[in-house]
Amino acid sequence: MAEKKKATTKKTPSKKEDIKKVAPVKQEVKKQAPAPTAKPKAAAAPAAVGSTTKQEARVGVFICHCGTNIAGSMDIDAVQESSKSIPHVAYVDNYKYMCSMPGQTVIHKAIKDHNLTGIVVAACTPRLHEPTFRAATKDGGLNPFRFEMANIRDQNSWVHMHDRVGSTEKAIDAIKIAVAKAALLQDLYPKSVPVEKAAMVVGAGVAGMQASLDLAAAGIKTYLVEADTSIGGRMSQLDKTFPTLDCSQCILTPKMVDVGRDENIELYTYSEVHEVEGYIGNFDVTIRKKARGVMTPKEAEAKGIVGGGCNGCGDCETACPVVKPNMFEVGMKPRKAIYINHPQVVPLIYTIDFDSCVKCGICVTACGPEKRAIDLEMKDEFIKVKIGTAILATGYDIFPIEKKEEWGYKRFENVITSLEFERLICASGPTGGHLVRPSDGQTPMRVAFVLCAGSRDNTGTGKPYCSRFCCMYSLKHAHQIIEKIPGCIPYIFYMDIRSFGKMYEEFYYRIQDEGAKFIRGRVANIIEDKATKNLHVMTDDTLLDRPIDMEVDMVVLASAVQPSADTNRTRKLFGVSCSMDGWLLEAHPKLNPCGTTTAGVFLAGVCQGPKDIPDTVASAEGAASAASIPIHKGEVELEPYFASCIEDKCAGCGMCVNLCPYSALSLVEKDGRMVMQVTEAKCKGCGTCGGFCPGGAIWMNHFTTPQIVAQIDAFLLGGEQ
């Protein structure tokens, strides 16, 4: 029945036709899929059904040496020899680098010369080269889904480097397993779906802002969601940036203004992503716009208050009686319950911190009857938007360095973190740029900088990784105090100075010449002199090989960084994995650092791992470019791993309907009885339904029950069945 249709449509398709046909042919898939009789045992039956050439499966096996990566750990000749006797194998070959052009040509040629119906490449991992070899299979004239990979590198030669016999046996079995599947593979056609011409960027630090500006410049509507009341992120808290020493605000604020006025960017500050549904090209995202208690001019106009809304005059702030620490200034300056972070905020709209607001209403009076911007009864709003792709740029927080008790942060007044230093030395900071000791307001003349504070720490308290930018900003801090406080000496306690960027090493030399003192040794302990509040920094100078006890006026801890507090929640919404230390996991560390394993979701900036500003901006531009590709293409291909129903077997029990996490399944009446029906657009191909169906009535394309059972049999029964 259905297979006949299949055979006629698929008669030796030319390459060009094949590409163009993608969309129309997808209709066939559904009809064709349930056709196989799905007898787990009978290997021959499904093979005949799916075969393009209507003949016994003929599988070609191609073994890659990967230089010596694979060939160095196993006996390739033995693997090739035993592969020849595996059922269905029609051709075996090996090559030094299968993924290279000559390697792929070997595949093309063999498909034609030996009339192959399935391809097995025994090489690295499908997570790296499945797309490459699928393309090669397609170029050779076969359906790309007739390719199966045997992983003999990442999960074999690299992990059994000292066990040549075991490694060889495992490779032979891996090929048997792959061949068993390849013999049963069917032609599949990816489904094309249109892509919504809009993107979302989560986090409006320098990465998120740059990504949004790039997307907007490419003509893409961009929703920029920021949890804080203003955009700008960590960079807006910094004073100067290394190694050029230009002022952070001077280079950032113009960008913030650009973001604020770009017509393609819809800015949601004081908001968070609440819910994400859908898939690449068609994400439905709900944004939770937290009640900020103050209306923008636009919102006021919508409420009929003409000429009203917040204009940032600050009258309310002056009137507000509630005083709280300003977290933008790391708690070193007070703010009111109604506040802005700093005068350059974008958007210039006040926010009420409802956790501390006493709702006295004085601000409402101060705001006046014209503007009427303040609404103390404001509620959170939920806004639904549809986007094609998303970029996560959730940034970082400072590691709570008080956990390293030996350095006395929060116990000793004159021990501060580098972010506090940054605010103290900043002209717009709480002290107007005068570095003072928190204990007595005096100018310090001896300042110790403790590097790797919490980074490169294997004790379990700190972070094992290098936070990458602390060395450089500490050098910059040293420069700043030498410049601002005549006679003040910076002492830098370091393990290694990692000045790896462009002009960084030169900057390091410059700071050495300016008179900063470098002491190589990890600080073991800091003790406070109770009378003077001076600090004794204890370490072992590893270059001079002697213990050091140095009295200083102030200690600055170059604290490690960690993923921002909300990163974990956000990543789960978008289905992105994280590495052991919580940084978001890229699709490939070298070849796809901006992508994730969730199609259509990309990473920018520090949320992927510590980066300095140049690297952050570069990664943001990379992510923006990657995120704009599907949008400009207009459609994306989804892997055709959908479920489908073998209606003859379906009892209509409906258990699968409740199992599906995407509500893709439903029961419909057909020929007087209930059967399950799949909405392919919703199905993501997890197979949870197929793993459960008591009647075996669900056919999971590319991971069918006969295929998986054949794989198990191939290993345990030797492929003979």
Partner: protein
């Protein structure tokens, strides 16, 4: 040469039993974690053979039983951590089924230590190595599957 890691390279040859362990693992977490173990050159015993599925939710309890019926000495199912499933909740559903398999194994007199479900994320290469080493050591302790012995009689 001795291999680093918590295992010794066993003697091989005709007539010497080697454990046959079937691994069925999910594409997004455990398979990626196993690849990462490769990238990190984390050494573990080679006695496991992997079948990749998109999600552990795809794993029918019958696949596990089929592997045992075919003569597997052990089966390892591995997926994402709870809450990290690429398909939201496939691993929860798989875990439920796998508990059922364990109960069934107990009641038919097959040591349920031969079957294990673990959770290894894409960033846990070292954990994957440790899991496989532990599974192999357990199966070596338990010896050949009674089903194989029964079949050979």
């Amino acid at each position: 040469m001795s291999a680093p890691g918590n295992f010794a390279i066993p003697e091989r040859g005709p007539g010497i039993w080697q454990p046959k362990i079937q691994g069925i693992i999910c594409n997004w977490c455990s398979y990626a974690g196993a690849d990462l173990a490769g990238g990190g050159r984390i050494q573990y015993p080679p006695d496991i053979r992997i079948v990749r599925v998109m999600c552990t939710g795809r794993i029918d309890a019958l696949f596990v039983l089929k592997a045992f019926a075919d003569g597997a000495d052990g089966v390892l199912v591995s997926g994402c951590h709870f809450g990290d499933c690429h398909y939201l909740e496939g691993n929860y559903k798989a875990a439920k089924r796998m508990f059922m398999v364990k109960r069934l194994m107990k009641s038919i007199g097959l040591d349920d230590r031969r079957f294990r479900m673990t959770f290894v994320s894409a960033s846990e290469g070292a954990k994957w190595g440790a899991v496989v080493t532990d599974v192999v050591n357990t199966i070596r302790e338990l010896g050949p599957s009674p089903i194989t012995e029964f079949k050979n009689k």
